[in-house]
Amino acid sequence: MAKFSIRELDIWFHQVHALSQASLEIESNEILSIIGPSRSGKTTFLRMLNRLNELERGFRMSGKVEMDAKDIMTEDRELIRKKVGMVFALPLPLPLSIFDNVAYGPRMHGVKSKKKLEEITEDTLKKAYLWDEVKDRLRVSAFKLSGGQQQRLCIARTLAVSPQVVLFDEPCSGLDPISTAKVEEAMLKLKENYTIVLVTNNVKQAARVGDKTAFFLSGELIEMGDTQKIFTAPKDKRTEDYISGKFG
């Protein structure tokens, strides 16, 4: 069964029509890559899935977003965000230690036991391929880490609240190729247990990690399908032009 089912989704910010009539399904334990030029509505779509959009001024929507067959707009907002984690474009550690960054989410959800928090921290840092690099200095400020390490710390922090879905919003836009490879490795491993939606500006990255790929343009979903198919035999001319680098 589909994890997310989105039907005729329209989003406006004030008078700007950011997304129009998007309908698609997102399957469990898959990576869906979303590609498209800037201002194509892909990030708006992503931020709909964990209800971050509604904090912006002038937000309006119509249509339906269902997660596990329940309308997310009628569910508890904090609960949706706990189930649907997000890794942002730039590494955004909180001004806390490495340990406290990872433990922040669980603490907010009432986990108090130090032992439990240590378990969670070790477990999620391992999943984010960061544990070996930081295990001796968990009390150090997260700002002491390199950009790539910070981004993996953010992945661990997201996993710490045991989400079912992880949203990645151009997670490698500020990283060098080696750090990018590590983040991609983590993503591929994660899809065994999580549903992953990846917004990326990097078409090649979509081809490397995505099971499915969706192409957005000017707020419209142009085409979506198996990554293999989108990249070898796209149905729409615009998709072909974009992935072959004719515009964007």
Partner: protein, 281 residues
């Protein structure tokens, strides 16, 4: 005129204007120290005024000012901070919010004597607190509220929006985010604003004139419903109302008041400096 020459002239004018600011500040401090320092002694700081304030010390005025400043902050800090949190974190950007923000800005521009009159009407007369430390503290508190609100709002808004988003995205509620992420990172800025407010409250004469200040009170106040002496008003009294007060007593009083206010400002500067060094984003 070539560009090099005009650049030189502009530079000289800008430098002169800057130097011009330093001169009066330096002069004021120098004169007060020069004339006031001989009057400072342990007796001057710890004794009550004697011989119609022409001898003895200024201890009751120092204590009175400390009481007033503490009272003002106990009242103004929580209210100011809470309203700042509401305005910067919760309030929607609508007509009412804009009116409130405008009112706060204007409140900061109200002359202090008007606060004095307002305090007299509201606290002294209407609430029947009489001329008392309570009335004076509340009046000073209202006077420094806009300062505290503005400083707190700036401190809260300087915490990056992305930190809030991260916290929300982990399922933390708005209030959890404020308490655990926003406030801890805003506290240095809030403290700085509060201390500057304290300095302002310590130095003002007009708001305490009708609400608390006693002309001459040889004993210390026993409760918040007593009148009290205060440094700025005492300085006014011995400078204009009592003839033949020795110059070193007047300047000594001014020096004590100036030191108190400058010391508070210094603390604010130190906090700000330390925070800037520690700031990580």
């Amino acid at each position: 005129m070539n560009s090099k020459k005009s650049q030189k002239i502009a530079f000289i004018f800008l430098l002169l204007a800057t130097l011009l600011i330093i001169v009066p500040v330096g002069l004021i401090i120098a004169i007060i120290i020069q004339k006031g320092l001989p009057g400072i002694s342990w007796e001057f700081l710890s004794d009550i005024p004697r011989k119609g304030m022409r001898a003895g010390g200024i201890f009751p005025a120092i204590v009175g000012t400390l009481y007033l400043v503490s009272g003002a902050i106990i009242f103004a800090l929580p209210i100011g901070l809470f309203s700042a949190i509401y305005l910067s974190e919760y309030a929607k950007d609508n007509f009412l919010t804009r009116i409130i923000k405008l009112a706060i800005v204007n409140l900061a521009g109200v002359p202090s004597v008007v606060y004095g009159l307002f305090g007299l009407a509201l606290f002294v007369v209407f609430f029947k607190f009489g001329a008392s430390i309570l009335s004076g503290s509340l009046t000073l508190g209202i006077m420094i509220l806009p300062l505290i609100i503005t400083a707190s709002r700036e401190a809260l808004e300087s915490v990056p929006y992305s930190f809030r988003e991260v916290s929300w995205s982990l399922g933390a509620s708005k209030w959890q985010t404020i308490r655990n992420i926003v406030l801890p990172n805003a506290i240095p800025g809030i403290l700085t604003g509060t201390i500057l407010g304290l300095g302002r409250a310590a130095g003002e004469t007009a708001p305490i004139l009708f609400t608390v200040a006693a002309f001459y009170l040889p004993q210390l106040p026993r409760s918040i419903f007593n009148q009290a002496m205060a440094l700025p008003y005492h300085l006014y009294v011995i400078s204009t109302q009592v003839p033949n007060v020795d110059e070193k007593i007047r300047y000594g009083t001014a020096l004590v008041l100036l030191t108190m206010v400058l010391f508070m400002n210094l603390i604010a500067v130190v906090i700000r400096y330390k925070f800037r060094k520690k700031k990580k984003w």
